[in-house]
């Protein structure tokens, strides 16, 4: 086996603890307990190794990474390893002193989650009164001169507020607003009936984004993460399995993507047992779906296989029970009917009117 190209990015899930309970959380259903988290020294070693073998970018994420009292030390370790750091936060717990310490440690950028443009609706979706803290956090980040990105996970409950959401982002001085249509894994899959939008909602949202792009002329970067259930095209998940980035979970489990914890027979390695370089190059988990050797038809001979890499393994598993099948989001998948049944107009779920009260299974420990 020839060595795989080096990874560019590390998603560091520093903790699964979080004051918010968003029903689409990208963390796995089985959250890692705080007592099993990597220590400061262990994270510092992960950063050292990551920088050593080619990682240039780390997202310091969670859960809520501000719950880690040693966050500034982890930033220092990443910065010393030559890795650009972005904090991915709910904003809860970010005050002036905390931000100053992080900036002094070398923090380069902050990405803030936003649930809705309306404070009450935002707090209802988050399952926590967090909106006011987010507004304060955005102002602090701007005042500190750090780049500010917003991440808005889009779903049935907030797509119709997209215009006001973008207005909020512009008012808060965001450099970049990521409009991330919900990807249905873990918590989002559990809450799919409540979160799945309608085609009409998505059509209007696309028009809203185009209108804002024309108006902003690039002054604020609007990123539209496609709703793959609706487009008939599989997303190039993670830029390919074990190709561009890796995730380290709070307990040191290393994964090709944050959702891969859901695959039952992956047997992912742990940074407590192996070096990152060994994990990347030699572990079974990182080689399982690397390249094209694992592909079956229709992917194996598909002209798009080098563009979408067969789509998402975790989605294939979630919807068919077999992670090696073509992603059902692709119109060429023999299982595409599973998706169409959920998204075609006329289907009960697709026809449902937006449910303003949510009715979510909120993300919380023990919920898995």
């Amino acid at each position: 086996m020839t060595a795989a190209p080096r990874p560019w990015a590390l998603l560091a899930e520093l903790t699964h603890g979080c004051p918010l309970h968003c029903p689409y959380c990208s963390n796995p259903l089985e959250l890692v307990r705080r007592s099993r988290e990597l220590s400061t020294a262990e994270w510092a070693e992960v950063m050292r190794q990551a920088g050593e073998f080619g990682v240039v970018h780390t997202h310091l994420s969670g859960g809520e990474p501000l719950l880690r009292g040693d966050l500034a030390e982890i930033v220092t370790a990443a910065e010393s390893a030559g890795i650009y750091t972005q904090l991915v936060t709910s904003g809860v717990g970010l005050d002036d002193a905390r931000l100053a310490a992080l900036a002094a440690a070398g923090l380069r950028s902050v990405q803030l989650s936003v649930q809705h443009a309306d404070p009450a609706a935002a707090d209802r979706i988050a399952g926590h009164r967090a909106f006011a803290a987010k507004e304060r956090a955005a102002a602090l980040v701007r005042a500190a001169g750090l780049p500010l990105g917003l991440n808005v996970v889009l779903h049935r409950d907030n797509l119709d507020a997209l215009d006001a959401l973008i207005q909020r982002g512009v008012d808060w001085g965001a450099d970049r607003i990521e409009l991330a249509n919900t990807q249905f894994y873990g918590w989002a899959l559990r809450n799919r009936d409540a979160l799945l939008p309608t085609r009409d909602q998505l059509g209007r949202a696309r028009e809203t984004v185009q209108r804002w792009r024309d108006r902003l002329g690039g002054a604020t970067d609007l990123v539209w993460v496609v709703p793959d259930y609706f487009d008939g095209v599989a997303k190039p998940c993670m830029g390919g399995w074990g190709a561009v980035s890796l995730t380290v979970a709070p307990d040191g489990t290393a994964l090709p993507c944050p959702a891969a914890a859901s695959l039952p027979d992956l047997d992912p390695p742990n940074v407590r047992d192996h070096s990152l370089e060994w994990i990347w190059d030699h572990s079974g988990a990182f080689n399982r779906y690397r390249g094209e050797g694992w592909m079956r038809e229709p992917c194996r001979t598909c002209s798009r296989r080098a563009e979408d890499f067969g789509g998402c393994r975790c989605q294939a598993y979630a919807l068919t029970g077999d992670a090696a099948r073509t992603d059902p989001a692709c119109a060429l998948s023999p299982d595409h009917g599973v998706i169409r049944a959920l998204t075609d107009t006329g289907h009960p779920a697709a026809a449902a009117t937006p449910a303003p009260t949510g009715g979510y299974a909120y993300r919380k420990p023990g919920g898995g």
Partner: protein
């Protein structure tokens, strides 16, 4: 983002990397990179050499003069001005 709509550089412009942007040499890949909050740009040719001169002290004429002295006879002036204009349009230098 495009350069369209970017106002022309002010007279006496002293280009500097935008605060969000980090210019670094990647030893592993033997490449020069611009690292931004959500992306990495791999620099080709003399791009990194030019950007390293964008320190907020040197003005455009100084940058061009330094490059010309290093590469006598090369058509530096127009290329460098066009390149830095594009970089400014992307928002990576200001």
């Amino acid at each position: 983002m495009t350069a369209a709509g970017t106002p022309p550089a002010p007279a006496g412009w002293r280009p500097a990397l935008a605060p969000a942007v980090s210019l670094r040499h990647d030893r592993v890949r033997d490449a020069d990179l611009l690292v931004l909050p959500e992306r990495v740009v791999v620099l080709r040719g003399s791009a990194a050499r030019i950007l390293r001169l964008c320190d907020g002290d040197r003005d455009l004429d100084t940058i061009v003069a330094e490059l010309e002295s290093r590469f006598p006879g090369a058509p530096v002036a127009d290329d460098v001005r066009a390149f830095l204009g594009r970089m400014r349009g992307e928002g990576w230098i200001r």
